[in-house]
């Protein structure tokens, strides 16, 4: 593999506060222009990682490289990083123009030039007419654009977004998600964002890093995380997942997976098949499950009784109770057949070989 410059590189970064391990062995890399979202529950280490990148937190061990340069001991003001804070942290005593021009002011750019560059940036975020206002005279959405302009105006190597949508109402969120993504792409920024909102992560990111208890659980494109989660935690965190527990056994050139009320078969050479008998959890997304045809005995199947049948316009949501009492969620557009079913009916459900994930344990 040829040597390629990474915009950002974390190499086994850990942060300990006494006995508390806020961050443990976190490693990942970012290409130039990539949009990464760090996703996880609160206290999972995503915010600490952001603050390590910004330079507000010095890691206990491990290395952080920006554009190939080691950042150990480099203070925030010399990292050339732009950051949008959760509540924006705009300077209340400065006008919008002064706020946006501030990073240029600190870099010794002449007044006339920094004002014209700040105005240009305000134009990009759609606030050209608001230069003379003060932050408190603006709405939350407008303040966010000012914060974004301030984070981008000096062409930083990395842009950090700390819970960018947290202070906005739901209606504005969807709009700003798309808009921030477009602006970041337009100026070619490499972005690291933090959120606990999986939808936001899916909408905005090229890749998502999922954090759990101070560790990086999995990193990948939204599709990778959705279709090939490496743990129950990730499967459950991104989208809806049915988790079926059982055992895998090798027999006669195949791998049989079985649990209470369900079974599945994998070819022996499938990478998902465990090498020997083991406990497994199968991840099934609600939309990959279908009703089996009348009289059919599918290879991958589960049987149970219908507990609830909810009509949602374009689809039905079925809740099927298995023999061991666990419930499976199904989303199906097979409206005609499901309409004919009633609560308490026994059903056989099936799914395609390629549509399920096997997780050890």
């Amino acid at each position: 593999m040829s040597f390629e410059h990474r915009a950002l590189q974390l190499d086994r970064v850990s942060k300990h506060y006494g006995e508390v391990r806020a961050l443990e062995d976190v490693s990942f890399e970012l290409r130039k222009g990539e949009f990464l979202t760090m996703l996880g529950p609160s206290g999972s280490g995503k915010t600490t990682t952001l603050r390590v990148i910004a330079g507000f937190v010095e890691p206990s061990s491990g290395a952080l490289l920006i554009d190939g340069r080691d950042m150990t001991g480099v203070p925030p003001q010399r990292r050339n990083i732009g950051m949008m804070f959760q509540d924006y942290a705009l300077f209340p005593h400065m006008t919008v123009l002064e706020n946006v021009a501030y990073p240029l002011e600190t870099r010794g750019v002449k007044r006339s030039e920094r004002e014209s560059r700040a105005r240009e940036m305000l134009g990009i975020v759609g606030l050209a007419d608001f230069a003379k206002r003060f932050p408190k005279q603006m709405s939350g959405g407008q303040q966010q654009r000012v914060a974004l302009a301030r984070a981008l105006v000096f062409h930083p190597d990395i842009v950090l977004l700390d819970e960018p949508m947290a202070a906005l109402d739901k209606k504005l969120r969807g709009q700003m998600q798309i808009e921030i993504m477009h602006i970041a792409r337009k100026v070619g920024a490499t972005v690291v964002s933090v959120t606990h909102d999986q939808e936001e992560a899916l909408v905005m990111s090229d890749r998502i890093a999922i954090f759990r208890a101070g560790r990086l659980a999995q990193i990948g494109t939204p599709q990778e995380l959705y279709t090939r989660p490496n743990s129950e935690f990730v499967a459950d965190f991104i989208g809806e997942a049915n988790l079926l527990r059982g055992t895998a056994r090798r027999e006669a050139g195949t791998c049989r997976l079985e649990g209470p009320g369900w079974r599945a078969i994998l070819p022996a050479d499938d990478p998902r098949a465990p090498a020997k008998t083991a406990a497994v959890t199968v991840v099934l997304r609600p939309e990959v499950i279908a009703l089996a045809a009348e009289g059919e005995r599918p290879a991958n199947a589960l049987t149970g009784t219908i507990e609830d049948r909810i009509y949602l316009g374009v689809e039905f949501r079925l809740i099927v109770r298995l023999a061991d009492g666990s419930a499976v969620q199904v989303r199906s557009r097979d409206l005609a057949r499901i309409s004919a079913l009633a609560q308490g009916d026994a059903v056989t459900l099936c799914w395609r070989d390629e549509d399920f994930v096997v997780i050890p344990g």
Partner: protein, 288 residues
């Protein structure tokens, strides 16, 4: 509904127009009226014997009075500047301290505050005299060869006054500083600003209302100081309050003493007005 001559709507009476709860102010107003406004009127009356302004004419024509007034203002300005400069880092430390450190800093600030002013001024004499702790330490370290003259000097007066006034400057500064969001300083540094640049452009402007409040409080309090300059200063360091006391207790010239007191009050009011004007201008510039 009856048709009668249209009733003239009766406006609310004066009492009805007062904001609710105004009655609660009555005790305080009575107290002020009886023990402040009335004696003040008496004082002004006493300064104008038979309606003649001769006492004021005397004050503004005799260099000794003008010199003491000018000295009082100069010393008060120096005391104000030193107090605010010392108080600023102290208040900053308090605003950014953890709970235990804050408790310690608060106690350290307020314990002297609870000790009588007289006692504190005497303590300074003990510390500053030729055989006092400060001189003995400096002599012992070989930094000086003979004792420094610290007491009965302006330096002594300023030292004592700064000490007394420190809490009056720290507390208003602290109350403003603890509301300053320190994430703004993080934002400043990630924007590329050195600590000093951020302090000058972000922190200081936001702390300015506290600085103004501390300055006006220490300055106006310093103008009226009596015990500290009397104990720690020489007769040349006399401030206007000492002169007023002298007129009442030694010269028994009540009229002149009263006139000096009215002049001090007038000048203090003027200082207040100037500070107030400064604040308004500052606020207007910020809002422009």
């Amino acid at each position: 509904m009856t048709l009668s001559s249209p009733a003239i709507p009766r406006g609310p009476t004066l009492v009805e127009r007062l904001p609710r709860g105004s009655a609660l102010l009555v005790p305080a107003l009575l107290f002020l009226l009886l023990f402040y406004v009335y004696p003040l009127a008496q004082l002004i009356g006493a300064s104008l014997p038979g309606g003649s302004g001769k006492n004021y004419a005397l004050i503004f024509s005799r260099p000794v009075f003008l010199r003491v007034i000018a000295e009082t203002f100069r010393v008060s300005l120096v005391v104000m500047a030193v107090t605010v400069l010392v108080a600023f880092p102290y208040a900053y430390a308090m605003a950014n301290a953890g709970r235990r450190a804050l408790l310690f800093l608060t106690i350290a600030l307020l314990i002297p505050f609870w000790v009588s002013l007289l006692l504190r001024s005497f303590s300074w004499i003990v510390l500053l005299q030729n055989t006092g702790l400060v001189n003995q330490v400096l002599l012992g370290l070989g930094l000086i060869e003979k004792p420094l003259k610290l007491i009965r000097t302006e330096t002594g007066v300023i030292l004592g006054m700064v000490h007394v006034l420190l809490p009056y400057a720290v507390l208003p500064l602290y109350s403003v500083m603890k509301k300053i969001d320190m994430r703004l300083m993080e934002a400043s540094s990630i924007c590329g600003a050195s600590w000093f640049h951020g302090f000058r452009r972000v922190y200081l402007p936001m702390a300015l209302p506290g600085v103004m409040a501390a300055a006006i409080l220490t300055f106006t309090l310093a103008l009226g100081f009596y015990i500290t300059p009397a104990l720690l200063g020489s007769p040349r360091d006399m401030m206007i309050a000492q002169m007023i006391a002298g007129q009442f207790s030694e010269q028994l010239n009540f009229g002149l003493g009263a006139a000096l007191a009215v002049v001090l009050m007038g000048l203090t009011a003027l200082a207040f007005a100037l500070f107030g004007l400064g604040r308004v201008l500052l606020a207007r510039r910020a809002a422009a």
